[in-house]
């Protein structure tokens, strides 16, 4: 995830908190938040994942004038022969294995973050259910408008040889 400018906005926080089913007024009610110990609206713990919205190259967002792999008139937007037993997860960018956040401070509307991602380690594991698993780690540093590190994120993705169900 790389974004030069990830503006933290109250409306986006509201939509995100609804999507994760969290009615906590600290995510939506300015007056409640002002009177709380925190002092302002803050973002839910996993909110920075939505920096994807501000990553110009994020590959899981349809882009104007570019082919998309979701269905239209055809089951897939991209004409591609699927090989027998090929991992669908790979076609869709793999599966998410782990996600970790370290909070240096909690972000609030008005902050403008930058997100910079560095590759971490990669490793392999054999699984009876899914064949060879290839794990790869990435570290994303979220910095605020003053260059201060606010959140460090560590994600681990996995590509499987076979489809896993449940």
């Amino acid at each position: 995830m790389t974004a030069e400018k990830f503006p933290i906005e109250a409306g986006h926080i509201l939509l995100f908190s609804r999507a994760v089913g969290d009615p906590n007024p600290i995510y939506s009610d300015e007056d409640y938040a002002a009177a709380s110990e925190v002092g302002s609206i803050i973002a839910p713990p996993t909110f920075v994942q939505s920096s994807a919205q501000f990553d110009p190259d994020y590959f899981l967002r349809p882009k104007i004038d570019q082919p998309w792999f979701g269905s239209g008139g055809e089951p897939t937007g991209i004409k591609k022969e699927k090989k027998e037993g090929e991992s669908s997860g790979a076609a869709a960018g793999g599966l998410h294995a782990e996600q970790h956040y370290e909070y240096h401070r909690h972000i609030k509307p008005g902050d403008v973050l930058s997100a910079t991602t560095f590759p971490g380690e990669t490793w392999e594991k054999e699984s009876k259910r899914a064949g060879k698993l290839t794990f790869s780690e990435s570290i994303t540093e979220y910095r605020d408008q003053d260059g201060e590190l606010v959140i460090t994120a560590r994600g681990v993705g996995v590509r499987t040889e076979k489809i896993i169900e449940g």
Binding site: G21, E37, P75, R154
Partner: protein, 141 residues
């Protein structure tokens, strides 16, 4: 919600909440729109069944982490988390009912700051683990 107090906490105590009942496909659409992860495996039944080869769409792992985050912040209060991490164990499907449990595993002090460590487990209606994780939050003495 005020910060928790170390004196009020006991290692081994647990907090359990139902995080979502009968998860709807619409909530997956809602999460895709808010988070910006439009991977069709989460929202496009035609793609996911005919091309990707899954029985139906499935939840973003990050939606399950977000739902579990509610359990954590309901327990430790707002703006107190210092660490939150999960491992995605099993997929979450439409129709699932998820229940999360946080167990207090340590109450400690680091550099003058009191902290609580939690172990997290979220299960589906069949008691199958969907994520496991840990969280640490600041507490008062």
């Amino acid at each position: 919600m005020p910060k928790l107090k170390a004196a009020d906490l006991t290692v081994g105590d647990t907090h359990t909440e139902v995080l979502v009942e009968d998860l709807k496909r619409t909530q997956l659409v809602q999460y895709a729109g808010a988070s910006g992860d439009y991977n069709p495996v989460h929202t496009d039944e035609v793609f996911v069944t005919q091309v990707a080869g899954y029985p139906t769409v499935f939840a973003h792992g990050m939606l399950t982490m977000g739902l579990t985050g509610k359990l954590v912040t309901n327990l430790v209060g707002d703006g107190t988390l210092t660490n939150y991490g999960v491992r995605f164990v099993s997929q979450v499907w439409p129709g699932d009912t998820l229940t999360g449990t946080a167990e207090i595993v340590a109450i400690r002090e680091e550099g003058g700051q009191h902290l609580v460590d939690l172990e997290l487990t979220t299960v589906n209606q069949d008691s199958q683990k969907v994520i496991t994780g840990t969280a640490t939050a600041r507490i008062d003495a």
